[in-house]
Protein backbone atom coordinates (compact mmCIF):
# COMPACT_ATOMS: atom_id res chain seq x y z
CA UNK A 1 0.00 0.00 0.00
CA UNK A 2 1.36 3.39 -0.98
CA UNK A 3 1.86 5.98 1.73
CA UNK A 4 -0.61 8.89 1.45
CA UNK A 5 0.82 12.24 0.37
CA UNK A 6 -0.55 13.92 3.50
CA UNK A 7 1.81 11.86 5.68
CA UNK A 8 4.84 13.31 3.90
CA UNK A 9 3.34 16.81 4.01
CA UNK A 10 2.78 16.66 7.77
CA UNK A 11 6.32 15.34 8.35
CA UNK A 12 7.68 18.17 6.18
CA UNK A 13 5.67 20.75 8.13
CA UNK A 14 7.01 19.40 11.43
CA UNK A 15 10.59 19.57 10.13
CA UNK A 16 9.97 23.10 8.83
CA UNK A 17 8.62 24.24 12.21
CA UNK A 18 11.60 22.72 14.02
CA UNK A 19 13.98 24.46 11.61
CA UNK A 20 12.15 27.77 12.02
CA UNK A 21 12.33 27.40 15.80
CA UNK A 22 16.07 26.78 15.53
CA UNK A 23 16.58 29.88 13.41
CA UNK A 24 14.52 32.05 15.75
CA UNK A 25 15.79 30.79 19.10
CA UNK A 26 19.47 29.96 18.66
CA UNK A 27 22.24 32.51 18.98
CA UNK A 28 25.09 30.57 17.38
CA UNK A 29 25.52 31.43 13.70
CA UNK A 30 26.22 27.81 12.78
CA UNK A 31 22.99 26.62 14.40
CA UNK A 32 21.02 29.26 12.51
CA UNK A 33 22.46 28.02 9.20
CA UNK A 34 21.59 24.44 10.24
CA UNK A 35 18.01 25.53 10.87
CA UNK A 36 17.84 27.07 7.40
CA UNK A 37 19.11 23.79 5.92
CA UNK A 38 16.40 21.91 7.79
CA UNK A 39 13.71 24.24 6.42
CA UNK A 40 15.03 23.80 2.87
CA UNK A 41 14.90 20.03 3.31
CA UNK A 42 11.31 20.21 4.53
CA UNK A 43 10.34 22.22 1.45
CA UNK A 44 12.15 19.68 -0.75
CA UNK A 45 10.23 16.83 0.83
CA UNK A 46 6.94 18.59 0.05
CA UNK A 47 8.00 19.12 -3.57
CA UNK A 48 8.90 15.44 -3.97
CA UNK A 49 5.64 14.35 -2.31
CA UNK A 50 3.48 16.46 -4.64
CA UNK A 51 5.61 15.36 -7.58
CA UNK A 52 4.48 11.81 -6.88
CA UNK A 53 0.92 12.97 -6.20
CA UNK A 54 0.65 14.47 -9.68
CA UNK A 55 2.68 11.77 -11.39
CA UNK A 56 5.09 14.31 -12.87
CA UNK A 57 8.84 14.51 -12.43
CA UNK A 58 8.99 18.34 -12.54
CA UNK A 59 8.78 18.58 -8.75
CA UNK A 60 11.88 16.42 -8.44
CA UNK A 61 13.73 18.70 -10.86
CA UNK A 62 12.86 21.62 -8.57
CA UNK A 63 14.25 19.66 -5.61
CA UNK A 64 17.47 19.27 -7.57
CA UNK A 65 17.62 23.04 -8.13
CA UNK A 66 16.89 23.77 -4.47
CA UNK A 67 19.74 21.43 -3.49
CA UNK A 68 22.13 23.34 -5.74
CA UNK A 69 20.97 26.70 -4.35
CA UNK A 70 21.33 25.34 -0.80
CA UNK A 71 24.90 24.28 -1.54
CA UNK A 72 25.69 27.79 -2.82
CA UNK A 73 23.98 29.37 0.19
CA UNK A 74 25.94 27.23 2.65
CA UNK A 75 29.25 28.09 0.98
CA UNK A 76 28.58 31.83 1.19
CA UNK A 77 26.99 31.61 4.67
CA UNK A 78 29.90 29.71 6.16
CA UNK A 79 32.38 32.07 4.50
CA UNK A 80 30.50 34.97 6.11
CA UNK A 81 30.71 33.21 9.48
CA UNK A 82 34.46 32.76 9.11
CA UNK A 83 34.82 36.45 8.18
CA UNK A 84 32.67 37.47 11.17
CA UNK A 85 34.70 35.24 13.48
CA UNK A 86 37.93 36.90 12.33
CA UNK A 87 36.44 40.30 13.16
CA UNK A 88 34.78 39.77 16.54
CA UNK A 89 36.26 36.38 17.65
CA UNK A 90 32.75 35.03 18.14
CA UNK A 91 29.87 33.62 16.09
CA UNK A 92 27.25 34.68 18.64
CA UNK A 93 24.78 36.71 16.59
CA UNK A 94 23.84 38.76 19.68
CA UNK A 95 27.33 40.24 19.65
CA UNK A 96 27.08 41.08 16.00
CA UNK A 97 25.93 44.67 16.12
CA UNK A 98 28.47 46.47 13.95
CA UNK A 99 25.88 47.14 11.26
CA UNK A 100 23.29 48.50 13.66
CA UNK A 101 22.73 52.23 13.35
Amino acid sequence: MAIPTTHFVILASLLFAIGAGGVLLRRSGISILLGIELMLNAANLTLAAYSRQHGQLDGQVFVFFVMAVAAAEVAVGLALLVAIYRRIQSIDVDRLSIMRW
Binding site: I10, A17, L38, F64, A75
Partner: protein, 162 residues
Protein backbone atom coordinates in the same frame (compact mmCIF):
# COMPACT_ATOMS: atom_id res chain seq x y z
CA UNK B 1 5.70 -2.60 5.25
CA UNK B 2 6.35 0.72 3.51
CA UNK B 3 4.24 2.44 6.14
CA UNK B 4 6.39 0.98 8.93
CA UNK B 5 9.55 2.21 7.22
CA UNK B 6 7.96 5.65 6.81
CA UNK B 7 6.93 5.90 10.46
CA UNK B 8 10.33 4.80 11.73
CA UNK B 9 12.14 7.22 9.39
CA UNK B 10 9.75 10.06 10.28
CA UNK B 11 10.11 9.51 14.03
CA UNK B 12 13.91 9.37 13.82
CA UNK B 13 13.93 12.46 11.58
CA UNK B 14 11.81 14.54 13.97
CA UNK B 15 13.74 13.46 17.08
CA UNK B 16 17.15 14.07 15.54
CA UNK B 17 15.94 17.40 14.11
CA UNK B 18 14.87 18.43 17.62
CA UNK B 19 18.32 17.44 18.93
CA UNK B 20 19.91 19.33 16.02
CA UNK B 21 18.27 22.62 16.93
CA UNK B 22 18.24 22.30 20.73
CA UNK B 23 21.57 20.79 21.81
CA UNK B 24 24.19 23.28 22.92
CA UNK B 25 27.22 21.61 21.32
CA UNK B 26 27.63 22.54 17.63
CA UNK B 27 29.22 19.17 16.79
CA UNK B 28 26.18 17.32 18.16
CA UNK B 29 23.92 19.69 16.18
CA UNK B 30 25.68 18.91 12.91
CA UNK B 31 25.90 15.14 13.48
CA UNK B 32 22.24 14.77 14.42
CA UNK B 33 21.30 16.79 11.35
CA UNK B 34 23.19 14.14 9.33
CA UNK B 35 20.76 11.55 10.77
CA UNK B 36 17.79 13.75 9.84
CA UNK B 37 19.05 14.09 6.27
CA UNK B 38 19.50 10.32 5.99
CA UNK B 39 15.89 9.88 7.08
CA UNK B 40 14.77 12.44 4.49
CA UNK B 41 16.71 10.38 1.93
CA UNK B 42 14.71 7.32 3.03
CA UNK B 43 11.55 9.35 2.44
CA UNK B 44 12.72 10.24 -1.09
CA UNK B 45 13.28 6.55 -1.76
CA UNK B 46 9.75 5.80 -0.53
CA UNK B 47 8.44 8.49 -2.89
CA UNK B 48 10.06 6.79 -5.87
CA UNK B 49 12.73 9.48 -6.19
CA UNK B 50 15.80 7.24 -6.30
CA UNK B 51 18.09 9.88 -7.80
CA UNK B 52 17.09 12.44 -5.17
CA UNK B 53 17.72 9.92 -2.39
CA UNK B 54 21.27 9.40 -3.70
CA UNK B 55 21.79 13.14 -4.21
CA UNK B 56 20.49 13.88 -0.72
CA UNK B 57 23.09 11.58 0.83
CA UNK B 58 25.91 12.71 -1.46
CA UNK B 59 25.21 16.46 -1.41
CA UNK B 60 23.66 17.08 2.02
CA UNK B 61 24.95 14.36 4.33
CA UNK B 62 28.20 14.13 2.39
CA UNK B 63 29.27 17.56 1.22
CA UNK B 64 27.27 20.24 3.02
CA UNK B 65 27.41 18.82 6.53
CA UNK B 66 31.10 17.96 6.20
CA UNK B 67 31.59 21.63 5.29
CA UNK B 68 29.65 22.58 8.43
CA UNK B 69 31.73 20.22 10.56
CA UNK B 70 34.87 21.67 9.00
CA UNK B 71 33.86 25.20 9.97
CA UNK B 72 32.89 24.09 13.49
CA UNK B 73 36.38 22.63 13.92
CA UNK B 74 38.06 25.58 12.18
CA UNK B 75 36.41 28.18 14.39
CA UNK B 76 36.78 25.95 17.44
CA UNK B 77 33.19 26.98 18.13
CA UNK B 78 32.37 26.73 21.82
CA UNK B 79 29.11 25.32 23.12
CA UNK B 80 26.45 27.99 23.28
CA UNK B 81 26.31 29.41 26.79
CA UNK B 82 23.02 30.37 28.40
CA UNK B 83 22.26 33.98 27.55
CA UNK B 84 23.58 36.42 30.17
CA UNK B 85 20.29 38.27 30.07
CA UNK B 86 17.29 35.93 29.96
CA UNK B 87 14.73 37.25 27.50
CA UNK B 88 11.51 35.33 28.07
CA UNK B 89 9.46 37.49 25.70
CA UNK B 90 11.73 36.78 22.73
CA UNK B 91 11.86 33.06 23.61
CA UNK B 92 8.08 32.72 23.78
CA UNK B 93 7.63 34.83 20.65
CA UNK B 94 10.14 32.64 18.77
CA UNK B 95 8.44 29.40 19.86
CA UNK B 96 5.01 30.80 19.00
CA UNK B 97 6.19 31.94 15.57
CA UNK B 98 7.70 28.50 14.88
CA UNK B 99 4.45 26.81 15.98
CA UNK B 100 2.39 29.15 13.79
CA UNK B 101 4.68 28.49 10.83
CA UNK B 102 4.43 24.72 11.20
CA UNK B 103 0.73 24.69 12.06
CA UNK B 104 -0.07 27.10 9.25
CA UNK B 105 1.87 24.93 6.80
CA UNK B 106 -0.09 21.85 7.88
CA UNK B 107 -3.37 23.77 7.65
CA UNK B 108 -2.70 25.28 4.23
CA UNK B 109 -1.34 22.09 2.70
CA UNK B 110 -4.21 19.98 4.03
CA UNK B 111 -6.76 22.55 2.89
CA UNK B 112 -5.69 21.82 -0.69
CA UNK B 113 -7.84 19.01 -1.97
CA UNK B 114 -5.63 15.95 -2.42
CA UNK B 115 -7.05 13.24 -4.61
CA UNK B 116 -6.51 9.82 -3.05
CA UNK B 117 -4.96 8.39 -6.19
CA UNK B 118 -1.18 8.28 -6.03
CA UNK B 119 0.56 8.06 -9.36
CA UNK B 120 3.64 5.82 -9.40
CA UNK B 121 6.64 7.59 -10.86
CA UNK B 122 10.26 6.58 -11.22
CA UNK B 123 12.62 9.47 -10.59
CA UNK B 124 15.75 7.75 -11.84
CA UNK B 125 18.78 9.64 -13.09
CA UNK B 126 17.93 9.10 -16.78
CA UNK B 127 14.40 10.51 -16.49
CA UNK B 128 15.54 13.53 -14.45
CA UNK B 129 18.47 14.14 -16.76
CA UNK B 130 16.19 14.19 -19.78
CA UNK B 131 14.11 16.92 -18.09
CA UNK B 132 17.17 18.86 -16.97
CA UNK B 133 18.69 19.18 -20.42
CA UNK B 134 15.27 19.51 -22.06
CA UNK B 135 12.65 21.95 -20.70
CA UNK B 136 14.84 23.10 -17.80
CA UNK B 137 18.05 23.65 -19.75
CA UNK B 138 18.18 27.41 -19.10
CA UNK B 139 17.65 27.02 -15.34
CA UNK B 140 20.24 24.24 -15.32
CA UNK B 141 22.82 26.53 -16.94
CA UNK B 142 21.90 29.38 -14.56
CA UNK B 143 22.52 27.06 -11.60
CA UNK B 144 26.07 26.47 -12.79
CA UNK B 145 26.63 30.24 -12.99
CA UNK B 146 25.16 30.61 -9.48
CA UNK B 147 27.49 27.94 -8.11
CA UNK B 148 30.47 29.64 -9.73
CA UNK B 149 29.40 32.99 -8.25
CA UNK B 150 29.01 31.39 -4.80
CA UNK B 151 32.46 29.81 -5.12
CA UNK B 152 34.09 33.13 -6.03
CA UNK B 153 32.06 34.96 -3.37
CA UNK B 154 33.11 32.54 -0.64
CA UNK B 155 36.76 32.87 -1.67
CA UNK B 156 36.59 36.68 -1.65
CA UNK B 157 34.87 36.73 1.76
CA UNK B 158 37.47 34.63 3.53
CA UNK B 159 40.50 36.11 1.78
CA UNK B 160 42.92 37.74 4.20
CA UNK B 161 43.80 41.36 3.47
CA UNK B 162 47.52 41.78 3.01
Amino acid sequence: MELVVFYVAAAVAVVSALVAVSHRSPVVNVLSLVITFFCVAVNYALLGASFLAAAQILVYAGAILVLFLFVVMLLNAPSEQPSPEPRPVQRIAGLALAAITGGGAVFLLLAVHVTPGVAPIDGNAAALGRLLVGPYLFAFELISVLLLAALVGALVLVKRKH
